[in-house]
Structures are given as structure tokens and as C-alpha cells.
């Protein structure tokens, strides 16, 4: 420039002009290296589900059965339904003597699953329907007390009369946050081989609830 003399000018200005390009690449590379090492540290401290934690007294929880497996025959040792059809499984949860939740029916299955999330939409809902998380989360709401329990009543749903598959009394103190597997022997009054009870804190974030319920 005008404040420079020809003496100051480099012999190959086109070559030295790569200085700003090198500076640009250096600045970008330096930032990239620093931010990459930061994200590695962040990755070690991600939020993990608090699965396996004890329930806290006085706190409210979503409780639902995520899986039920029945023995192949009913209480009388006979097939569940007439013909080769399997049982149509549904369950109810009673807490403090009151029915607080009833599940949907899973047709023709010895092994039934519920995700805890369910949306029932009709054609008329296309005109406008308001949904709330309470409607969508299909679970019983209970408050933990170490001395109380819930009653899980599993039935084979029939048009005429539901057949009882088993009636289980689950003490709340035996439950933990997340999935709780319980196995039962076949008896004259029990045809439930296994149930999986999922317990989630009501004040969980939607993301945590969804993560648990999707599993």
C-alpha cells in the first residue's frame, strides 16, 4: 500500500497471501479441537434413567403392567377360549380398595404387552380434539406408602362373562422405579406365569417417561 515501499514488498505476494487462509484454517481447527474435547466430557455425564431406585414415601407414581404372561390353560386346566383361540387379556389395578385403572384388551395372546402410551382417535376427532398427557398415559396413579399395596386383577375378557386369570396382591415396598418382574407358580386360583410392573414418578420429564415407556 502507499505506506509501504517496494523494498518491503515480498518477492512472491501471491504465495504469502496464503497467510490469512492459514490463519482461518488454524482458528477453525483450534475451535473445533477444543469443542470436540468438551463434547467428549459432556458425553460422560448424560442423564440416565433412575431405574432401580426406591420409591419415596408420599410421592405419586404412574403404575402399569407392561407385560403379562399367562399359563397355557385356565384355572380348571382347560383351554382359555373355545377352539384354538388364546385368551383376550386385560387387567385392572385396585389401590386402597378402589379400581384406579383398567387396561385395553389384548386379543388372542398368552403374552400381552402395554406401552403405557395410548391415543384413541375417531374420525370425528379430525374436526378437532384436545389431548392431554393424562389421557395419553395409560397407567394407574398411586401414592407410595410402604405399608400399602395394589391389587392386580388379570382377566380373560369374554362377551358373556370375564374369566379370572389371577388376582395378585403386590406390596408397594417390593417395587422399584422402572420395570419390576414378578414370577408366580401355577395354582388352582392363579394362571399368571409372570407380570412386569412399570413404576414411574409422575413428576418425571416427558422425555424420561417416553424413554421408559418406549422400552
Amino acid at each position: 500500500m502507499s505506506n509501504l515501499s517496494d523494498f518491503d514488498s515480498p518477492k512472491r505476494p501471491w504465495l504469502t497471501a496464503f497467510v490469512p487462509v492459514a490463519v482461518i484454517l488454524l482458528a477453525a481447527g483450534l475451535y473445533w479441537a477444543i469443542s470436540a474435547s468438551d463434547s467428549d466430557v459432556d458425553g460422560l455425564t448424560g442423564d440416565l434413567p433412575n431405574s432401580g431406585e426406591k420409591l419415596l414415601s408420599g410421592k405419586n407414581y404412574y403404575t402399569y403392567i407392561s407385560e403379562i404372561e399367562l399359563y397355557p390353560s385356565n384355572e380348571e386346566g382347560k383351554p382359555w377360549d373355545q377352539g384354538d383361540d388364546g385368551p383376550d387379556i386385560k387387567y385392572q389395578i385396585k389401590w386402597l380398595g378402589n379400581e384406579v385403572f383398567e387396561s385395553s384388551v389384548k386379543d388372542d395372546s398368552l403374552l400381552a404387552n402395554w406401552s403405557g402410551l395410548q391415543i384413541d382417535l375417531n374420525w370425528s376427532d379430525l374436526l378437532g380434539k384436545t389431548l392431554s398427557p393424562n389421557e395419553t398415559i395409560q397407567a394407574a396413579r398411586i401414592r407410595y406408602d410402604a405399608l400399602s399395596s395394589i391389587e392386580v386383577i388379570v382377566k380373560d375378557s369374554d362377551l358373556a362373562k370375564d374369566d379370572l386369570a389371577g388376582n395378585l396382591n403386590i406390596e408397594l415396598k417390593t417395587l422399584r422405579i422402572g420395570k419390576n418382574r414378578k414370577d408366580f407358580p401355577k395354582k388352582t386360583d392363579n394362571c399368571i406365569r409372570r407380570i412386569e410392573i412399570t413404576v414411574l414418578p409422575i413428576d418425571s420429564t416427558l422425555e424420561d417417561l417416553a424413554q421408559f415407556m418406549k422400552e
Binding site: 500500500m1 505506506n3 505476494p13 504469502t16 496464503f18 490463519v23 482461518i24
Partner: protein
Amino acid sequence: MIRLLILASSILLGLGLVAPTMTIYPKAGNFSWLVELVDPESVLPVTYSIVGIIAELASINDWFLVFVLSIFSIFFPIIKLYLFWVVSFSSQNSKLINAYSIVSRLGKFSMAEVFVLSLALISLKTLPGGTEVNLNWGCYVYFLAVVLSIATSLKINISISEFVQ
């Protein structure tokens, strides 16, 4: 002075290209909570740098935008600084007139990259469902690099004008 400006602009440009430029907070209107339940990952905030935006566009094969953004956001500013640096050494010789014309032409396109970024932001700001786009510090660093580049261009123009007179 001119070379200091070029170096400062280069550092800021390098940072501005890879630093977080914008964060998108996806929303699905009244059903946001539902989407959070069913597919929580799809509503997580996403932060992009300018290079990240271009890489994202390349991954979805939007080559036109990749081309436009690459030219105006990356290559054009770099070439401009490269030429400025050359011009800063081309004093009092026959190359001055050529350099002067190049710098003058480049000056007209100084705000092109800002214009492209603004367009991208405006289009994202109008996303439905309440989706928000927030600018991050990388955007300001990039703009500062552009401003310094413009200042360099003006300084070079003044110096050349003085020499021609």
C-alpha cells in the same frame, strides 16, 4: 494496519465458520408435548455452525443451497481476504491498477454473505408450529469478520485513491 485488520478478520472468520451459529428449537404447535412423548429426539434443540448447516444440506442432497452457501459464506470471504493480503503488498507497482479494480468489484459483494445468512434466518423464522430459531455467538463473530473485511476494503480503497491522486 491493513494487514492487522485482515488477520483479525481471518481469525474471526475461521471461528465464525465452525462456532455455533443458530439453534433451532422444534415445536409441533399444540401437539408439542405429544411429539415429546412419542419421539423425544425429534424435538431436541439442534445447534448448527455455518459449516454444519452446509454439511446438513449436503446430507439431504440439496446441492443448490450447498453451492450457494459454500460460495458466499466460505469461499468468497476467504478469497476476498486472500486478495486483500496480496493487494496490501502490491504498492507502487504496475499491479496496483488491477488490484484496485478487483478490490472495487469485491466491495460490491461485501454484504452478499450477510444477505444469504439473513435469507436463511428469515425462512427459518417463519417455520410453523412455534419452532424458534435463536442466533448464537458464532453468528455475531461471523458478522464481525464480515464487518472487519468491509473496513479493510474501505481502507484499501482509501489508500489506493491517495496513491492514484
